[in-house]
């Protein structure tokens, strides 16, 4: 079947998850007080970021490691590292 939403898309992927997040929101207050749009929750291609009313939930386990959130956050509020060697997303095809 052809996927119809992001949950189905993410389900196609293989991840070798690290126990520690490679993505860190530096200051959740910045998201709350300065960023009404919460851009990262919109453009992140894996829906890693979810706003939970008071803080940003970071589902790093499903990250594609594209780097968009680091570049796209208007407040440079995301610390972005690579997952530990051999961890994170494992593309099998393209």
């Amino acid at each position: 079947m052809s996927t119809k939403n992001i949950e189905e898309k993410q389900y196609l992927l293989r991840f070798k998850c690290d126990t520690k997040s490679h993505l860190t929101v530096l200051d959740h207050d910045v998201c709350m007080t300065q960023c009404p749009e919460k851009f990262c929750t919109v453009f992140c291609p894996a829906e890693v970021y979810k706003w939970e009313g008071k803080r940003m939930q970071v589902g790093y386990e499903g990250c594609h490691e594209c780097g968009s959130c680091r570049i796209g956050c208007p407040y440079q509020n995301i610390k972005w590292e690579y997952p530990k060697g051999g961890h994170g997303i494992v593309f099998r095809l393209a």
Partner: protein
């Protein structure tokens, strides 16, 4: 691991592996470091690999590399909501040696290519992140990795660490990229039986087709979509500059689903089975975004150096060429045992004298102009569709009258002066 190599290459994508391959072939002691489980496991590409630059590294590679299909037809679609204006080229000469380009699946191709570098003598270490360059007296002398005791030394470190190039940033070779300098692209691999692909794209055995789709594929935003044929799957993807994505509040996967269900696209995918979903950034800043590419004991190649020609969808070929040029500069530098910036600038000179920087220079204003003036994809593509529909609909109006109407509808919508200005601006951007 505190060994010393002639060359350490960070990243086993097309740029890094090319550099490692050429260095190893010339007898240098090369360490190739890859952060993924295997080369290709972190890499994404729409899928077109050009023959020319690959052949310069491995002659007749098509006889053994894991390729999908040689591309014999390239189509371009200017797509509106319920219509499309098409043009393209199909030529059987592209279906035989020496070929023009091929579709590939990167996870397979990159593994094969890295294996070639290893067979030539390079040492490949997977599952290792380089966390920083070791700098001493203003000179890069090695790298620190995330392995225990993970320091390794070399005369030259090659940064082939991809679009995010955290290492280049650490060295101050470039600032953080802006959202208008990168394109966020998502794609899906959709499995479909070979016979169906051949029927739907009018292909025979071992013939491939690529379709570039402009206009409604990005809802008029600055970007493109693509539909490429593999052996028994299709790659369908779409991307826009990150800045456009932000401005239009687009979710990339929603845009992909919009494309997949678009009435002009849907019939091609019917009955297909999604196999993988992938997201990646493409460096599209062009000429002005190319960072410093050589320093004391260090060079930067491929995506890490922003070497992508977005207008002609060329990237992996530029990566390979830059990797090869970097290797040649390193080999020369070794002859006089001088790895200073001045010596490694041989690479910079070669790069700037090559098709890569000439092409990037040609289009240096294009991305900026199309970002600043969104009417090209947003307004003109629908206009072209309406004009074509009007012109080709037989309704008793004379052809001369139709021509007049079509011209008038265009100038009415935007005004004659604006149209002329738009044309001039676009021509200047790509001339």
């Amino acid at each position: 691991m505190s060994e010393k190599f002639d060359v350490i290459v960070v990243g086993a994508g097309p740029a890094g592996t090319s550099c490692a391959f050429v260095c190893a072939k010339n007898g240098l002691n090369v360490l190739l470091i890859e952060r993924g489980e295997y080369p290709g496991s972190k890499n994404v590409m729409g899928g077109v690999l050009y023959r020319k630059q690959m052949e310069e590294l491995i002659p007749e590679f098509w006889k053994e590399a894991p390729l999908e299909r040689p591309v014999i037809e390239q189509r371009f679609w200017m797509m509106d909501k319920e219509s499309v204006v098409q043009f393209g080229y199909k030529g059987l000469e592209w279906g035989q040696e020496p070929y023009n380009n091929f579709t590939v699946l990167r996870a397979q191709f990159d593994q094969w290519f890295a294996r070639k570098a290893v067979e030539t003598g390079a040492l490949l270490i997977n599952e290792t992140v380089v966390t920083e360059c070791i700098v001493e007296n203003g000179k890069v002398i090695g790298v620190r990795t995330d392995r225990p005791d993970g320091e390794v030394y070399a005369d030259v470190v090659v940064l082939a660490d991809g679009v995010n190039s955290l290492l280049g940033k650490q060295l101050g070779f470039h600032k953080e990229f802006r959202p208008d300098e990168v394109a966020l692209t998502v794609m899906e691999v959709v499995n479909l039986p070979k016979e169906k692909i051949n029927d739907r794209f009018n292909l025979e055995e071992n013939q491939g087709c690529t379709v570039e789709i402009f206009g409604d594929s990005t809802k008029g935003n600055l970007g493109t979509a693509f539909l490429y044929t593999n052996k028994d799957s299709l790659n369908i993807g779409v991307g826009t500059t990150l800045s456009s994505m932000i401005k239009a509040k687009l979710k990339p996967y929603d845009l992909l689903d919009y494309l997949k269900t678009h009435p002009m696209v849907k019939p091609y995918l019917e009955g297909g089975e999604s196999a993988e979903y992938l997201a990646h950034l493409i460096p599209e800043g062009g000429y002005r975004s190319v960072p410093k590419v050589a320093g004391n004991g260090v060079v930067v190649v491929g995506d890490a150096a922003q070497l992508v020609n977005a207008i002609h969808r060329e990237g992996s070929n530029m990566a390979m060429s830059s990797g090869k040029m970097a290797a040649e500069a390193i080999i020369e530098a070794k002859k006089d045992d001088n790895y200073s910036e001045a010596s490694l600038n041989r690479y910079k000179d070669a790069l700037y004298g090559s098709f890569i920087m000439k092409d990037l220079e040609k289009y240096k204003d294009a991305a900026h102009i199309f970002e600043k003036h969104p009417q090209y994809l947003r307004d003109y593509v629908p206009m072209m569709n309406r004009a074509a529909s009007k012109f080709f609909t037989v309704d008793g109006t004379s052809k001369r009258e139709k021509q007049k109407e079509v011209l008038k509808s265009v100038t009415d919508e935007r005004g004659t002066f604006k149209v002329l200005k738009d044309i001039y601006r676009a021509w200047k951007a790509v001339k």
